[in-house]
């Protein structure tokens, strides 16, 4: 072969034909996978966030497929790519029939585009679904009073973790009020111990402080308004007060001097806490398993947990919780097997599924999970967590999940600026009010 072959007329024609054939094949292949939603032997595709817990969902799928005519195909998407992959898929003909999500703002664009099945009628008429889950958890995943998701994983409330040994050495009790908290801050500072570990390069860890402060100061209604699309509600005096309280904590040295260089993701903040160089850590419930993996001695002996303290003059119920209530399955409105999909979702309320979650170290959000918790790998922690959520008058979904991405992303940037001292609490409020 050589240039001669290619330059001959027939050669070029043959070459062009081959190219066209290849292109055709590619298009056909694209069509083939595009119709995967329905035509291919009655299967439904379920996208799930790929991490350690997938094995629990896989087991549920295998069980379901034994009896069902319509088979579920579970696609585990690696965590870091999940959001983008789902977004791309939902905009294409290859959309999944059922998919994992965080409720709230994470599904708002899909709801707005009419892509999700409203599950409210099913929750109303079906006992299994209606009574199956903790109401605050179902509520937290709803949008405009409509249910779009069935809870399918463990709960992840944010709570205050503390080092029991350090508190005992300094004759301190875990803080219940803001005064307790301030006493703890000054005591630890005098001992050259950072009061709170904080990974300041990850804005979502800073977000947790504002979520709890706003809830304790102004109650959950303030953020509820914001979540429902009213950006002017950022102008509520409680938001400013929460930002000022944050600023005060920073100025008081509650997070130490170099928290802006500390990362959560690379283990910097959890290590500070585990080594006793920081006394407390406001974090999601996964902190327990993180520490159990990285510093098992500390987790078993000295790791304590408590609710976020009250703030003087605040109107929020001290029982309120923020964090990720759980993850949800939602159903694509374009699915050809809606009934089968909903049948599959019902299995999430089953005792067997809850048991599998518990065995994996998760705390299920089903209504009758409490009797299962004794068999959990860490019963004490599991029961505290379940009670906290069960008794919570309100469970506010993490703001970055509750708001849609176009608002959540700039909000996280503004929070990072507030913590880095790049904006004042007043500027912070103004910037958030301007979010469109």
């Amino acid at each position: 072969m050589g240039s001669g072959f290619l330059r001959r007329g027939t050669g070029t024609a043959r070459w062009t034909a081959a190219l066209a054939a290849t292109a055709m094949a590619a298009v056909l292949a694209g069509c083939g996978s595009g119709s995967g939603t329905g035509a291919a032997n009655s299967t439904i595709t379920a996208y799930v966030y790929g991490d350690d817990a997938v094995k629990v969902q896989q087991a549920a799928v295998d069980e379901f497929n034994k009896t069902s005519d319509v088979k579920v195909k579970l696609v585990s998407v690696p965590g870091a790519e999940y959001v983008n992959k789902l977004r791309t898929a939902m905009g294409s003909p290859n959309a999944p029939d059922v998919f994992f999500n965080w409720g709230g703002g994470s599904i708002k664009p899909y709801v707005d585009a009419g892509q999700l099945v409203d599950l409210s009628p099913h929750f109303q008429k079906d006992e299994t679904l209606r009574r199956g889950f903790l109401p605050s958890v179902v509520e937290a995943g709803s949008l405009d009073g409509k249910v779009y998701g069935v809870p399918m994983r463990g709960m992840q409330p944010v709570m205050l973790f503390y080092n029991k040994a350090l508190f005992a050495e300094n004759n301190l009790q875990p803080p219940k009020t803001w005064d307790d908290l301030q006493k703890a801050i000054s005591t630890f500072k005098a001992k050259k111990i950072t009061p709170f570990a904080l990974g300041g390069t990850d804005a979502w860890t800073q977000l947790m402080w504002l979520e709890y402060l706003l809830d304790r100061i102004g109650g959950p209604e303030v953020f509820k308004k914001i979540q429902n699309g009213d950006s002017s509600a950022w102008g509520d005096p409680a938001v400013l007060k929460a930002a000022q309280t944050t600023r005060q904590l920073i100025d008081d040295g509650a997070f130490g001097k170099n928290f802006n260089s500390v990362s959560y993701a690379n283990g910097g903040a959890p290590a500070l806490f585990a080594q006793g160089r920081a006394a407390m850590h406001l974090m999601g419930s996964w902190e327990y398993s993180t520490q159990l993996g990285k510093a098992p001695d500390f987790a078993k002996k000295d790791l304590g947990w408590t609710a976020f303290p009250t703030v003087a003059g605040g109107t929020g119920d001290p029982g309120n919780v923020v964090g990720n209530p759980t993850n949800y399955w939602s159903v694509n409105a374009r699915t050809k097997h809606k009934d089968a999909a909903i049948d599959f979702l019902m299995t999430m309320a089953s005792q067997e599924y809850s048991k599998a979650l518990v065995d994996n170290g998760d705390i299920p959000t089903t209504a009758n999970a409490s009797q299962l918790l004794e068999t959990s790998p860490n019963p004490g922690f599991a029961e505290f967590q379940y009670k906290m959520v069960q008794l919570a008058p309100s469970f506010t979904l993490s703001w970055d999940q509750a708001l849609e991405a176009s608002k959540a992303t700039p909000m996280l940037t503004e929070i990072n600026k507030l913590f880095a001292g790049k904006s004042t609490p007043e500027q912070f409020v103004e910037a958030l009010k301007a979010l469109k």
Binding site: L6, T201, N258, A271, K417
Partner: protein
């Protein structure tokens, strides 16, 4: 960086390949230059994966698109927003600053190292091979590594920083974070530029040095009067790659600073990523991307024009 350098490299290597082929055919088979079909795979590839996406980005920059529903044309909205957006202005300024710092940091060191490594001594060959190692590592791995080294509580910066009067809170300070990003990029890409300078220096005919020695010029005089002028085109090549690379720098920021503290390391590519793939405002992100392509291309063309590289004026005039 790699993205930016490939078309240029491709161009150069294909040019080299073409001359070689030309010579062979002229001597042997009596054919002329190969027909355009030879370039077809390259043109198709480049068209499909560079021109088409770029054209789509330009189109999207006149639309509002969330990635789910169909794009809706919004005219010049994204562009007027771009010129008014203080965040974009800050990002542009930071990108420019990063580019200048990176160039000023990398060029002198890479130049000197390259000239030194051009010597044929065995120890220089061995050391050059070692210097080359950072380029073989993935940018992500390097960023993760440096991020851990710079942890103010557990990283080496805590021990070493105070010796040099550096506050370990380096990623938390605006200047420190930007300088760190420039440093890490320089650390990774300097070997590449060293290699370019090494190759360039080896092309310089020995007679020039021999003549200069006879005239009594020492190594310093030789460097400034022969090596440097002879390397003019090499400096342009390296600088264009460096500048385009710095303008499109991204991974290190994503991993080490996430654009922070606040927005003080949010350079243009990171702003584009945040707008496009975190806020899903793909129309505006496309406008940012298009602006970046225009500026980077304009800068490269300007540099090529004013350095005389474009006219391929020989550096060996009079020889």
């Amino acid at each position: 960086m790699t993205e930016a350098s490939t078309p240029l490299e491709k161009q150069r290597s294909s040019a080299a390949a073409a001359t070689k082929r030309g010579r062979r055919t002229a001597a042997g088979q009596g054919f002329g230059r190969p027909s355009v079909t030879w370039a077809l795979p390259g043109i198709l590839f480049f068209g499909l994966f560079a021109i088409v996406p770029m054209a789509l980005a330009v189109y999207l920059s006149f639309c509002s698109w969330d990635g789910l529903t169909s794009p809706t044309p919004v005219g010049l909205d994204n562009w007027t927003r771009l010129f008014k957006d203080p965040e974009f202005r800050q990002a542009g300024w930071l990108s420019l600053l990063l580019t200048v710092i990176s160039w000023a940091f990398q060029t002198p060191i890479a130049l000197m190292l390259g000239v030194w490594a051009a010597g044929r001594q065995r120890n220089r060959a061995v050391l050059s091979a070692i210097f080359f190692v950072p380029l073989l590592l993935s940018t992500t791995a390097i960023a993760v590594l440096f991020h851990s080294l710079l942890d103010p509580n557990f990283g080496v910066i805590k021990e070493i920083g105070p010796w040099f009067g550096i506050d370990p809170n380096i990623l938390g300070s605006s200047t420190g974070a930007l300088l760190t990003v420039a440093f890490v990029g320089g650390w990774q890409f300097m070997p590449f530029h060293t290699l370019i300078y090494q190759g360039g220096t080896r092309q310089i005919p020995q007679v020039l040095y021999q003549a200069a020695s006879i005239d009594g010029a020492g190594p310093v005089r030789q460097f400034f009067s022969i090596t440097l002028p002879q390397l003019r085109n090499t400096i342009t090549t390296s600088s264009v790659l460096m500048i385009v690379g710095s303008l499109t720098y991204f991974d290190t920021v994503l991993i080490m600073t996430k654009g922070g503290p606040g927005t003080d390391t949010t350079i243009v590519p990171y702003l584009m990523y945040r707008t496009g793939f975190q806020s899903y405002d793909l129309g505006y992100a496309s406008a940012i991307a298009t602006a970046l392509v225009v500026v980077a291309t304009a800068l490269s063309l300007l540099m090529v024009k004013f350095s005389g590289f474009g006219s391929m004026r020989s550096t060996r005039e009079g020889m």
